[in-house]
Amino acid sequence: MSTVVPPASAPRVGDLALRCNGLQRYLGHGEGRVHVLKGVSFEARRGQVYAIVGPSGCGKSTLLYLLGLLDQPDGGEIEINGQPMSNSDDFARTAARGAHIGFVFQFHFLMLEFTALENVMMPMRKLGRLTPAEMEARARSLLDSVGLGAKTHRLGTQLSGGEQQRVAVARALANQPSIILADEPTGNLDVKNSALVFDLLTRLAKDNGQAVILVTHNPEIAQRCDVTRPMRDGLFV
């Protein structure tokens, strides 16, 4: 409980935001136990956009969960903004998620009983850095920037898959995290909206000095990233 997470303030482009070294992850039990990540090392700097590409099943999502502190590695180290996280307790990892990491899941993105606006405000309410009025203003502007300004009061169930995905992107940006991890954030989107979301993420990386790491199957998007890391069978190649 003692680990204090420093605020994500004073970001300097080029600073190391995230670093992992020799990450190992096994999944499943007994006969079905699979060595999914076989010692992955990776670095992400502020202001840069990274693409992780690779065939289906190579371990991209698994890696992203580890980097997002949603899962714990069987071996290796993770550092978030210079803080070692591999051995930290749940409380410290949760705090780091709230303050430093914005996560976009590959599937199921939203809390469906809540409106788009409420979904985007959810992380801000937990962090509590802004007043309710500021939270709402920020959530509206984020939804605006993903092209959903007119649908802020729609419930999750009343949004299409692609719209849900864009709300999820807006939500990942809510607390101005220094690290944005997005698992195929453009997977369900048409060309126009893919471009919208990708441009938004790139602009944030450049303007706010955030590190953006995204998994994508779209070669065009991968090509436009600052760094592309191809992955195969649990290892970067």
Binding site: L27, S61, Y65, G68, L70, D71, Q72, D90, F91, T94, A95, R97, G98, A99, F103, F105, F107, H108, F109, L110, M111, E113, F114, M122, P123, R125, K126, L127, R171, N175
Partner: protein, 414 residues
């Protein structure tokens, strides 16, 4: 509103069926608890009120006899000597005035009345019945019984006070002898017969009393029964009838007479009521357990349906304890609404039951089902619901908090 409460509220309103299920469990649990309490204690309280209103909270009878004195007494006076649990007693109270003065010093005592009792035969123009004369001083006896309120004939006690040849008779006895107010009767005791008139007819509520007791002025009773001094017993009413046992024990030490509190006097019936209470307590407990099991089940289901949301919340920085809180809030909301509705439901059913016709005319007299209205039944029911719901929700809530977000998103959470 705190974020967690807000989320809890939305989860609940979105899952209307699960919410209604757990809500109805709580409402039924609380309501049934209240109704059972109200109906079980209703008859008992009414019975106790009836018996306190007729025979008072306690009676002082029979003087305790020290061994030395008992030899003397046995040789001389011819008084009855009783033996109970190794202690010898002389029947009756020999010095009622002394006893009354001493008893009045006890703080809890409301009224004291000396009563002289004797067996008689009552004859009306119609027939003759056995009965018991209770010689009383009305101004004293008023304070230890509800005789005044139990007179059903017009004029109340007024006519009784006018003359020493006036008697008060129980309804059952009066009916058997086919008597009404102002009718004459002759009463025989120890070979002597005197004429009296009926000044009032009472209904005590207890059939046994109403078919035997005739109240008469104490002075007249002494003369009729040829007992110029002493009393059969001294009847006492208390401000706090529930303290009768302690007070009786204390008085027994101080006065040297046996003092019987109402709890001991009516032991048999009270134990019947106690058995009744135990059996309904068992019913309520079983129902409460079933209701909380259903509650547990529903909450566990809500948690299962919400695992994805848990993963999303956790990924945004919500802590384990936030997750616990969210699910406990849901239980608390259900509990609050359930307690309120359950209370109303319980009160409504209790009222409905109190309207059910149920003529009883033996131990006590009533036309309808007797219920008891006590705020404590509601407090107890809600307290039980709080404990049960919190216990039932704690396990699912903690389970929810333990889920690892990584396991949830991979679908391997269990």
């Amino acid at each position: 509103m705190s974020p967690n409460l807000r989320i809890a509220f939305r989860f609940l309103t979105a899952k209307k069926r699960a919410m209604l299920m757990s809500l109805s469990c709580t409402v039924l649990g609380v309501g049934l608890f209240i109704v059972t309490q109200a109906t079980t204690s209703g008859f008992e309280e009414f019975f106790v009120r009836t018996l306190l209103g007729t025979d008072g909270a306690m009676r002082i009878e029979d003087r305790k006899q020290s061994t030395l004195q008992s030899m003397e007494a046995a040789g001389g006076t011819g008084a009855h000597i009783l033996q109970r649990e190794g202690v010898k007693y002389i029947e009756g109270v020999e010095e009622p005035q002394l006893i009354k003065d001493a008893v009045r010093n006890f703080a809890n005592v409301r009224g004291v009345s000396a009563v002289l009792r004797g067996n008689v035969q009552v004859t009306s123009p119609f027939k003759t019945e056995d009965a018991q004369i209770f010689g009383i001083k009305l101004d004293e006896h008023r304070l230890v019984s509800e005789l005044e309120r139990k007179i059903t004939t017009p004029g109340g006690l007024g006519k009784f006070l006018e003359s020493t040849s006036a008697v008060l008779m129980g309804r059952v006895l009066a009916d058997r002898l086919q008597l009404s107010v102002n009718d004459s009767i002759s009463v025989s005791a120890r070979g002597e017969t005197r004429r009296y008139h009926v000044a009032g007819i009472y209904e005590s509520g207890s059939r046994d009393i109403d078919k035997t007791r005739i109240y008469l002025d104490l002075g007249e009773a002494r003369s009729l029964l040829r007992r110029p001094t002493g009393a059969t017993f001294v009847q006492i009413s208390l401000h706090e009838p529930n303290r009768a046992r302690q007070d009786a024990a204390h008085m027994e030490d101080v006065l040297g007479h046996s003092v019987r509190p109402w709890q001991e006097r009516e032991k048999e019936w009270l134990s019947v009521f106690r058995a009744l209470r135990v059996s309904s307590a068992i019913t309520v407990t079983v129902f409460t357990l079933i209701a909380s099991l259903a509650m547990f089940n529903t909450l566990a289901m809500i948690v299962l349906e919400k695992t994805k949301d848990i993963a999303i919340l956790r990924s945004m920085g919500y802590e384990r304890r936030d997750i616990t809180q969210i699910f406990l809030w849901q239980a608390a909301i259900v509990l609050a609404i359930g307690a309120l509705l359950g209370g109303l439901f319980g009160a409504t059913v209790t009222w409905g039951v109190s309207m059910v016709p149920l003529p009883i005319n033996t131990l006590f007299k009533t036309q309808t089902f007797i219920v008891s209205w006590s705020v404590w039944h509601y407090v107890q029911a809600i307290a039980t619901a709080v404990v049960m719901v919190m216990v039932a929700s704690l396990v699912p809530a903690r389970r929810a908090a333990r889920l690892e977000p990584g396991d949830i998103v991979r679908g391997t959470a269990q």
